[in-house]
Symmetry: C2
Subunit: 551 residues, 2 copies
Amino acid sequence: MADPIRIIPLGGLGEVGKNMMVVEYGDDIVVIDAGLMFPKEDMHGVDLVLPDMTYLIENKDRVRAVLITHGHEDHVGALPFLLRDINVPVYAPPLARDLVDVKLRENTGVGKYDLREVQPGETVVFGGITAEFFRVCHSIPDACGIAIHTDAGVIVHSGDFKIDHTPIDGHPTELHRLAELGKAGVLLLLSDSTYAENPGFTPSEQIVSDALDITIGRAEGRVMVATFASLISRVQQIADAAVAHGRSIAFAGRSMINNTNMAIAKGYLKIPAGKILSIDELAKLPPEQQVIVLTGAQGEPLAMLARVARRHSRDIQVDDGDTVILSASTIPGNETKVSDVINNLTRQGAKVITRRQANVHVQGHASQEELKLMLNLIKPKYFVPIHGEYRMLNAHADLAETMGVEPENINVLEDGDVLEIYGDSAEVVDHLPAGHVFVDGLRLWNVGSAVLRDRRHLARDGFVVVALTLDEDTGGLVGEPEIASSGFIDMVESEVLVDDAIALVGDALRAATKLPLQEDYINGRVRDVLGSFLFKQTGRRPMIVTLLLDM
Amino acid sequence: MADPIRIIPLGGLGEVGKNMMVVEYGDDIVVIDAGLMFPKEDMHGVDLVLPDMTYLIENKDRVRAVLITHGHEDHVGALPFLLRDINVPVYAPPLARDLVDVKLRENTGVGKYDLREVQPGETVVFGGITAEFFRVCHSIPDACGIAIHTDAGVIVHSGDFKIDHTPIDGHPTELHRLAELGKAGVLLLLSDSTYAENPGFTPSEQIVSDALDITIGRAEGRVMVATFASLISRVQQIADAAVAHGRSIAFAGRSMINNTNMAIAKGYLKIPAGKILSIDELAKLPPEQQVIVLTGAQGEPLAMLARVARRHSRDIQVDDGDTVILSASTIPGNETKVSDVINNLTRQGAKVITRRQANVHVQGHASQEELKLMLNLIKPKYFVPIHGEYRMLNAHADLAETMGVEPENINVLEDGDVLEIYGDSAEVVDHLPAGHVFVDGLRLWNVGSAVLRDRRHLARDGFVVVALTLDEDTGGLVGEPEIASSGFIDMVESEVLVDDAIALVGDALRAATKLPLQEDYINGRVRDVLGSFLFKQTGRRPMIVTLLLDM
């Protein structure tokens, strides 16, 4: 019997972000993408979320390469962390290569790295695995899907894709190659599910060009456009509209400036030289000749747009008559932040244009009819929906069934599942650890759930700390306990409560007959007595911490 | 010169929820609605948010009544708190009266109260103010707007409204009365802005009936429908569809059970008696004869649907083939919670139907064309948009201008603004305190921003507490400090860090030459030395608290 192909998603299934797919054949492992996720609201204090890459580290001798489909953070953001432990070559299409290069240079923890450019259409051989990069459309230039050729069959990984017949960069999804692959026979299709719940076709970027042209053309004052810093083709569309209406352009926000600088230098972004100014230079022009492209379309509190909205920017102030365009969709969870930004901008006299008022954004992911087209062209024997929450994966699985994939050949996987595929069977044979790894602060702390659980408790109820001194000889309480608290109630205004609490704890410990007092006993007693007293008085259950000092 | 009319919004302007509008004429004050708001994500630990009612308490001798437009929490939820301080009569339309009655009975803090029923169309006189309740459509029966008649002119308050020509309860918005009022001359219109950004017409509830009928009719297994417990007319629609397809109905979730019990007893809800069962009785029927109506359509973690989704409900378990309908729109801020619920239900084999798949919900608020109709019928001299975030108020103001209201007669107010209206002028003459009052725990704590700020800090970085003992005689440090922490990093795994921190603090304090050590000096020194050490080591800035014990 021939070797099976093994597919192990380590991220991106069941949750949007931190995409990472392991493909194994024989002794060879290739990893497709190494992305990160931004923390959810209840991941207090966590800066970034990474996939659990333990399996790769344990099998590092067999890992031949990381293959990058495109340059978005949710596909490349974990690379600096992965490469610290496994120094393997990284293959990426041109723009992704350049973006990863910027990222790895910034990251001092990564030593020498081996980053190689792949042109769409090229193939690279890794032992028994041949990886073929094919071009797809997405909201960033040079996005690719990857076909994995093995003796056991062909696997097609769609990458993030949509089917745009009139993309901004003139490079549509390579339908002909997909058709050839499908005709020759594909064992397994892994396909992007992000918009699998969306009926119809995702509109072409062309309608965004039109909407930006109309909106910027009609604006009477200054125009600001907020979008993602990696949305290089969107920046091109904004610049085209600006130039067409006699306006100059400035960029604001660190990542926007860095990315556009690189993109201009490398030729991804084509703007007449005299039309790009610094913020200060732009400010000298009349408002109707200004366009500012800036970060912060998700309402991120530290990004440029939110700072402008809160009047915290030194360089940019909103004037009456300004038009602000949010050229992005709101990522679930960010709705209230975005709404706050819009309210603050409106309050300062700006006219705010979102997707609701004009087609100033379309998503980069395929809707149902495009997903069906992909399924129809590839005609895979087996199907695994990737990239999406469970509801999206499930909707995609339903689509595949309507497209004629046998129900028993459709596997809705979860991160960590090991799918083993022979020519005539595919089954989950194992489940690897595939939870979240948190980046918290400077270093890669592996913040356990206890720390996060404590933060949630502290967020809700604050804490009360009780410090006690024990007598060296008797082991009994000396003097009165001291109490401090934060995030609980206003203790200054609750002096009586504090005095009562001190007396209560003191009495409880003095009443203990068995000396010396043991630490566990003290902790338990303080928690019981103080906890129930405070709950009765305030209806809250602060965290209670006891500190013992020896005399 | 005649007395002016004074309009003071104390809630609901600039933020959705906690609606409260003060209307003053001469010596008489009436309050329209007394609502609450549910806390936002960053209001850690806060249970409820109330309007600041200080002005009413200070002027309680002049407050004649609270007039309730309808029975939703954001219009009646603050009543138990207001009535503790001001015992004035409350006037409400029938269903609102009954819902308020349930609420006030439950609330032990409220003494004897004076709650009176008003039929739509009735007027009530309060000194120089005559209040006329007129019927509007909204997502609850018996919703009203209120016309305030004074010698200085008429004010029309729309309440929450939409214009539904085919409402479930058969009572459309009283367009004829609005036309009469408009023809006779209205000084000021206060009108609902919640959907002022929405073009077109809000669809009739009729399309929801159709969608529920089709969805429930097609379902093969059990059906669960989640909606708001106060959406009595939606429950009627669900019950109608259930009965039409030979299914029986059970209710789940405390507030759903309480409200539907009351609504059945009072005749608001009409369901054939034998068709209503307990959850246990329903479970004995075949799945295709079951419909469960339950709470939790917002993904609220403690409500019924989320408990079912997490498999935490004793009474209800999801089976393969169940259909779950979310008959509600997602309130901004709840998107990820709702999505988690859908993912979990899907994972257990349920088919989940939201607004995305079928018209199983329409909003209860007027869209732009209805708002224009209201403006056109009333033809007010002055206009103040109410109920909405700033962006919505602003959009509504723009609409009023296109409808011919003079721009200088449109006032976009914020909570606390005092608008004084004479026959030929309207201006903001004062601004009263109108911030948030938090209900936090058992009692009405007035949680200051310091407590909330501390909770935000603790949520992000946790805390480190240092306890020290000072020598009674010299005032110098005795022994070594003790350190504890929570929500920061795993201290057990960071023993070296703790030891270094203790040594560092000890050394710093022993190095001080000026004895006795002063409290301020110690606090500052510990914060500086320990704070920068921990930041350098971990990249985080935990809250640092120092506790001093005397020997």
